[in-house]
């Protein structure tokens, strides 16, 4: 068998996807980027292949993407995460319908990507500064509230009052705002839904810059948070599609590109 690997080295996590010749996802792995991207990426890939019972020689093409893509020297090719994200989203949403807009919230950035009918990237926008309103921000919020990131969604849906807006989505300033709200005995639920809506408003502004066209696809780690998904849907006024594994869309896209690249090379 021949296999294709996509490896996405992000600021927070390394995501690896393995696809077969039919571009089906056969396995994936997510591990923390930590301090040594390159070493951890190699280790994680080795582990994943062992788990899947795939011999290294069966991997015929590897594409790296993400901020750390240039650090992974073994890759046959590397592509920007925008291209990989677009490809991965279409593949992952195959049964759902054609994707025209992608929202991606990563560990330390966020993007909106607009696709044409053929699935080509026609426009994209990225947040212009720092980690405001990204996965890192949600981590900081959860830490301040002394709850787990995976609990944010439950708290969101339990919010019975008016969501309390956080005026700053800067992780540093928001921290003091949240502590202030807690000090005044506001409910954690209302703070959480307020945080989600603050992020949602910000991301929807970004999406509007590239234009909102259905279907809308949402990926990246924060897409696991249903409360945030609901907040974005409400701000957008559209339903959005979240794939089964929202974190690995980009690496899956890279694996699909690896497959395409290999097939076109062997044809020529």
């Amino acid at each position: 068998m021949r296999y294709f690997v996509g490896i996405d080295i992000g600021s927070t996590a390394i995501k690896i996807s393995v696809a077969d010749e039919n571009k089906n996802l056969v396995g994936h792995k997510i591990s923390a980027s930590g301090s040594m991207f390159y070493k951890y990426a190699q280790e994680a890939l080795g582990e994943l292949l062992r788990e899947l019972g795939i011999d290294e020689k069966e991997v015929v093409y590897t594409v790296a993407t993400g901020y750390g893509r240039k650090l992974f020297k073994e890759a046959d090719e590397n592509v920007s995460e925008i291209t990989a994200n677009a490809i991965g989203a279409q593949q992952a949403a195959k049964g759902y319908g054609a994707i025209k807009t992608i929202i991606n919230i990563g560990g330390q950035d966020s993007k909106a990507i607009s696709l044409d009918a053929g699935g080509n990237v026609v426009n994209f926008a990225m947040n212009d500064r720092c980690a405001a309103g990204t996965g890192k921000f949600l981590d900081v919020v959860a830490m301040n509230l002394e709850i787990g990131v995976d609990e944010l969604s439950d708290y969101h849906f339990k919010s019975a009052g008016t969501p309390l807006s956080i005026s700053s989505t800067c992780a540093v300033f928001a921290e003091s705002e949240i502590i202030g709200l807690l000090g005044n005995n506001h409910s954690v639920e209302d703070i959480v839904s307020g945080v989600h809506y603050s992020i949602a408003k910000r991301i929807v502004k970004l999406v509007k810059r590239v234009g909102v066209k259905e279907n809308v696809y949402f990926d990246g780690g924060p897409a696991l948070n249903d409360g945030l998904v609901s907040a974005i849907e409400n701000e957008l006024g559209h339903k959005i599609f979240v794939p089964e594994y929202p974190q690995i869309t980009t690496s899956y896209g890279a694996a699909v590109l690896a497959c395409d690249a290999f097939l076109s090379e062997s044809e020529s």
Binding site: S153, G161, T162, L164, S165, G194, Y197, V229, S230, G237
Partner: protein, 423 residues
Amino acid sequence: MHTERTIETAAERQNRHKAMEAISVLNALKEDFKSTIQSMGYFYDLFENVYCHHQPLHEGKVKIGTMCIQIPSEIIYALDGVPIRLCNGFYTDDEIGSDLLPQKSCPLVKATVGWFASDNFSDKPDITFSPTTCDQKTKAGAIIGSFGHTVIDVGFPRTKESEESRHYWRESVKSFAVQLSKFQGKKLTRSNLEHAIKKVGYAQSLYHKLTEFRKAKAVPILGADMFLITNAFFFDKIDAWIHAVEKLILELEQRAEDEVHVAGKASPRIVYTGSPPIFPNYKIPLIIEQSDAIIVADETCSSNRMFNDMVAVDEWNLYDMIDSVSDKYLKACTCPIFTQNDDRIRRIIQLVRSYSGDGVIYQAFAGCQVYEMEQRSVLAAMEREGIPILYIESDYSPSQHGQLTTRVEAFIESLKNRKRMKK
């Protein structure tokens, strides 16, 4: 497992946005200052109920929308209507209105138009009267009419000194009274108008009592709270408002006796003027009071201008009363739409003197042309009088908070220095 998610309708989204704006201002009022006033609770709850829970206040009553301060509420009350002033302070509605009006329009007008465009009211006006005050308000009336709302123009003159203007305005008010009377199927009589004038006059007298407390060295109430109280008069049940303010006055009397001061020892005393702060756009007043100053008086149409001058009736017969009501809304008005406006300058100076103001903060909404233009003459007059003044242009967007704070803080610090040098 993914939760089943439903998506808000446009109206639900608008309501949530407005609720979020409202609650953050109410929380700031309740939590950011020392020594909260018990009887302010009525007003905090009122605004929360109306803007966070979208609770109607006037079910079963006929609601008469007014597009500006000049539509006499005395006549509306006399004819059994509830006046609802539609000047709007929500950024949410401003954003909706921005799609319908030129980019450089006044945020207050955009917010009002946006509100009507969305047709999402907890107390929807059955009919709206639009005085032809500034250009943007005048055109806004027509635009709102085009959405299918009943809007009636009430001609308002742009000069106030001449007899012709006075006559013209008195005729306008009479025709307004006739139209409203037809709409309500009720006659305006000597007794119902007298009753209404006295009731509104009593509410005004309560406002005057409140402002007296602000003359003292220890100011027992925040300027931002005062804006909230006067703002409530836009839409509250008048009897409930009167009752709440009576209670508040009792509490303030006690606070005055105990010399409770809501600001610091060195806090400069500010007179606020310019485009009206309307809930929840309390951006500048809150920045001022969060920066260790205290607003002791204001010259704005959402507060002082609404209450300052009483109807002065010579003879309590119907036509005399209508004329006196008309005069209150023209002669005493210090709106910058008038050609000459020395009255406004005199009012500001008088407020600075009688409330021991250390400085003036003049806010104009970006796009509110008349306030922007009148800035020049007011600044020159303050310079002649030796009164420090800060001119700020801002809109409803939450984004400029940092820069505005720095400017206001620097001004307040300069006032503090000035005070120290004097000593």
